[in-house]
Symmetry: C2
Subunit: 615 residues, 2 copies
């Protein structure tokens, strides 16, 4: 016996076994419902609105995450709601993903790192004589290699398929593209000037692809998107849990990311006019889990102690093996991995920040859902993971949203609250940079104390406009950032006590990562020459606010520098320079991985880092 479930807006009808959660039923039926926390009732992303049929009584999780108002309006968390009768539900309308403020790099690569362009892709224009002799026969391929002055036979059968027609239709005038000993393409006529590559940074939450001309290093196009795997879990552990011991789910995740990369290629082709077949090299960075999933490698054990990766060495494989729709013979180069939670993205950050050649000790922090911290100099490099979760990207926050149109991205708190929104639109929610600003302002104003507690009891001490925004509703403490109607807001936007706790957990993870590496390396703050903040996200947060809430250690602000999306930049360096790609392998091997959880001092440091710095 099954129960009919209708899902709007697509009006899809599913037949579901009684007791199945709506989230599970939708996912099984191929309908995407975002479940950032992995369906554990710990965020609001999977909420649905009941349109027809009986609305089930709210669970504790519904109350906690959605609040009274939404619960009254018929919203429920689809992960918590077990189907018992026919209903129709509406998936909460998604945000406008096109408008996301994810950092795409925007400078010529070699301007950043002064590398010599040497992408390893070579094009030779040849005049090939066609086989003429019936006796003493040669072959098309032999004549081609002979004209190229090469003896290599590393040519895939797929490339040979069209070789005879290409040679004859061009009268033997062709351009041969090679990468090392591998022949990648034989094209009619002279195409020597058409040499492009793609740098790809696959983050847990966002994915950035950048098209680069391989002679000049010039960026021609860049596309960023949310990682579409997020509907199956917002953080790495949720996503690993989804794929764990479940090959079909792993396949789903793999298909999602490959599909997205192909959308990126399409979009880049559209933007730049560069044909996909002229893309001969692709460099990919990403954390270990993203790397394994892209390759279809079972990540189950990356999620279980001792969190070992399946492989760490750099890989080079043809694009057709990944069904990537660039030139099918293009070489896809995956950078090496350091450990289960310190991936190729950290190697990219090390490469791009040049921390490995620094005479003084530096710190590089890659802020993201699965953050990483690097500390050291040319003498030695340590690295650890700092699993901040998606709170700093606006997820798992009551009114959190990503950096889209209408998101509050700047907050100033004086006698009252002033907010700025992306696109200066009516406020819809708050994104990461806004949250950090807000908490910094709330600390300065005394709205929260250093333990993070919202000061309901002391609200009378605040300037009246602020005091009125500090409320207790039922058990919950809230700070009202925007009232319904303010600035055109359709409904109020609050930061709850739990939101503050989520940010404390996130910034605690990053700050304790930095502190632990300093502790283990024995490097006090005054010996740190520089802290480099990296991440697709880092460009938009205020350094002052980051310092105020203790996201970064207490250093003079001039020692803190944005370095942009360093992981992507590392990929771009390896794209335009084979020596850089070889260097990446040496760096990966030289980094000492530090496991924080296993360290006896970690708990104390983490708890300390959860608190906010006293002024």
């Amino acid at each position: 016996m099954t129960i009919p479930l209708t899902v709007l807006p697509d009006n899809r009808q599913l037949h579901v076994a009684p007791g199945t959660t709506i989230l599970k039923a939708a996912q099984t039926g191929g309908i995407d419902i975002t479940a950032t926390c992995g369906g554990r009732g710990r965020c609001t992303s999977c909420r649905v609105k009941f349109v027809r049929g009986g609305i089930p009584p709210p669970t504790i999780m519904d109350e906690l995450q959605l609040g009274d108002d939404l619960v009254r309006e018929g919203y429920r968390l689809s992960c918590q709601c077990h189907l018992t009768e026919p209903v129709t539900v509406q998936i909460a309308p998604p945000l406008d993903e096109q408008a996301f403020q994810i950092l795409g790099a925007d400078r010529r690569v070699q301007d950043v790192a002064r590398v010599v362009i040497d992408a390893g892709i070579s094009k030779q224009v040849l005049k090939v004589s066609l086989p003429r002799e019936e006796h003493h026969q040669t072959s098309d391929l032999e004549e081609l290699l002979n004209a190229a002055g090469r003896s290599t036979e590393e040519v895939s059968p797929a490339l040979l398929r069209d070789l005879p027609a290409t040679l004859r239709e061009s009268g033997g005038e062709v351009t041969v593209t090679t990468f090392g000993r591998q022949v990648l393409a034989v094209e009619k006529g002279d195409t020597a000037l058409l040499k492009f590559g793609l740098a790809v940074d696959i983050g847990t939450t966002s994915v950035v692809s950048t098209l680069i001309e391989l002679e000049s290093g010039e960026q021609l196009a860049s596309v960023s998107s949310l990682n579409p795997q997020a509907v199956f879990g917002g953080d790495l552990m949720s996503r690993i849990a989804f794929a764990q011991f479940n090959p079909a789910n792993l396949r789903k995740l793999q298909t999602r990311i490959i599909g997205l990369l192909n959308q990126h290629v399409e979009e880049i082709v559209r933007q730049s006019g560069v044909l996909a077949k002229w893309i001969y090299k692709v460099v990919v960075v990403g954390n270990t889990c993203m790397h394994h999933i892209l390759l279809g490698i079972d990540p189950s054990y990356v999620g279980l102690a001792p969190y070992a990766p399946v492989m760490r060495h750099p890989l080079v494989l043809p694009a057709r093996d990944l069904f990537l729709k660039v030139n099918p013979e293009a070489r896809v180069c995956l950078l090496p991995i350091v450990a289960g939670f310190v991936g190729a993205d950290a190697v990219g950050v090390a490469l791009a920040t040049r921390i490995y050649e620094s005479p003084e000790t530096r710190i590089a922090v890659d802020i993201g859902t699965n953050g990483e911290v690097l500390l050291g100099s040319k003498a030695h490099l340590w690295a650890c993971s700092a699993p901040a979760g998606p709170a700093l990207e606006g997820a798992q926050i009551r009114h959190g949203m990503r950096g889209a149109l209408g998101a509050i991205d700047r907050v100033a708190i004086g006698d009252d609250v002033e907010v700025h929104t992306i696109g200066e639109a009516a406020p819809l929610g708050i994104c990461g940079s806004g949250i950090i600003d807000a908490l910094a302002g709330m600390l300065d104003a005394g709205i929260i104390d250093h333990t993070g507690l919202i000061q309901v009891e002391n609200r009378d001490r605040l300037p009246p406009p602020l005091g009125e925004r500090v409320v207790a509703r039922g058990e919950e403490r809230q700070f009202i950032l925007v009232r319904a109607g303010e600035g055109g807001a359709a409904s109020e936007i609050v930061l709850t006590q739990d939101d503050v706790r989520q940010v404390q957990l996130a910034k605690g993870a990053i700050a304790s990562g930095v502190a632990m590496l300093q502790h283990i390396a024995g490097i006090p703050g005054e010996q740190i020459a520089e802290l480099m903040l990296a991440g697709g996200f880092g460009n938009y947060i205020s350094i002052r606010s980051a310092l105020r809430i203790g996201l970064v250690p207490s250093l003079p602000p001039e020692k803190i520098r944005y370095v942009g999306n360093a992981a992507s930049l590392g990929a771009q360096l390896c794209l335009v320079s084979e020596p850089e790609r070889q260097r990446a392998e040496r760096i990966a091997r030289s980094i000492e991985h530090v496991s924080l959880a296993a360290h006896p001092d970690f708990q104390d440091i983490f708890v300390e880092c959860m608190n906010f710095p006293r002024p």
Copy 2:
């Protein structure tokens, strides 16, 4: 506007543009009709019977190929019949393909050529320690390679997919299979004794696959089938014409052969109990066209002067690239090619016959639809193609059939005709060995003269039972081998004047190939130490008859030897021995290709070879 066409026995309804031939319409609609001559009205294989709708008037080709009786019964050649009104046709029931007498090799490989077994596939049983350290992480792969004492990283991502589960479920006790530097498999527990390989000989007409245990060289199973590409053309030129400048048709041919090989694997797995995943090495021989088609390489120019192949070097590629359902990482080794019409099969013949190390001059003749002749010794080897066509395999012969149940395979002519059929069943038709016997007997009895003319005018000089079998029907001379009712035959079986001509063309091609190589090399018959007859077909023909009709040059019978399916044997040698496989490349490079058609003396020699030897 389209015309409905119904095809029995499957009762498929097609909608066809007026004027399309039934053959074309059926092929477009995915219905197989065998067209041995490539749809040129030169054989009977594509005949259909009209069941409903108007029967079109017979064409000249219908009359010529099918004869009055079949034409009267509503049979037509589907390649000649253009659709003008709705009809229902029945495809002539296919022969029983299971019963074909195609030679599968049947001896232990090393007994034949005394090779040392060294297949290159190595299995190591290991105890791998799983990564235990959170600090200083390694990876599953590094621990595996470390236990194996190897540093190679030639491991495909596909193999890594299951590595973590394999290692953990087996407690680290695994067997690693390698081929050179390439890791092919990691299996739980001890599978060291399970090492198998497949030798595949892809002929124009038949395909033989042999399963071999790679330590002993023992043959465990062998499967042969007709090449399913034959429905698109019986000889190479028809098949090239089908694929020429038509990628969709090329794809069809490729899909056919890969599908057949996978059927072979299934059948072999069933026969032997060996699992497909234990097959780690595959060696393939075949003529250049079969080789190119298997790889999906455009063979268009192999069919155009100067008939150059696209590539000649030996190839090794993973089975998954060919969608072969053995172990997906198994290495498929294609032997090298000599020229457009002297393929890897000829190299296999050279290898298996050891002609390349013979002190005296020998000849190896590979009889098949696309025959090849090798002549020489360890000093020098010449090779040419001898395109006999499928007549010697019973195709393009009025009552010809392949060596299936009921085929006449032996004919003795004394005062009357005596025939033997395969399975001693009621005669259905005549296969190649029967045709050769019949012609030899007809020559001896004076039923045909040395020009091949059936002696209708002189039939009175024959013993009366024979004389009565020599008839002229309309313009056509015939010899009645079996009358309707004789030996239970449902209808009469004749050899027509045109049948005799087809055999003359076939044997002329082979004999003139041998004669031309002797001519070019300057080797008279008395210097020939031995002539080796090879081919899946060769085991069943009478040497005496072959000599009588001049299929082979006039040598003492003791100098003529069957060597079985030498091409397949060559593949088997390379399967069990890597040194043999390397030798194959040296042999291929050392063979001098001779183009017969270009030679000024060829026409004269060919015409001479068309005639039968005088007694």
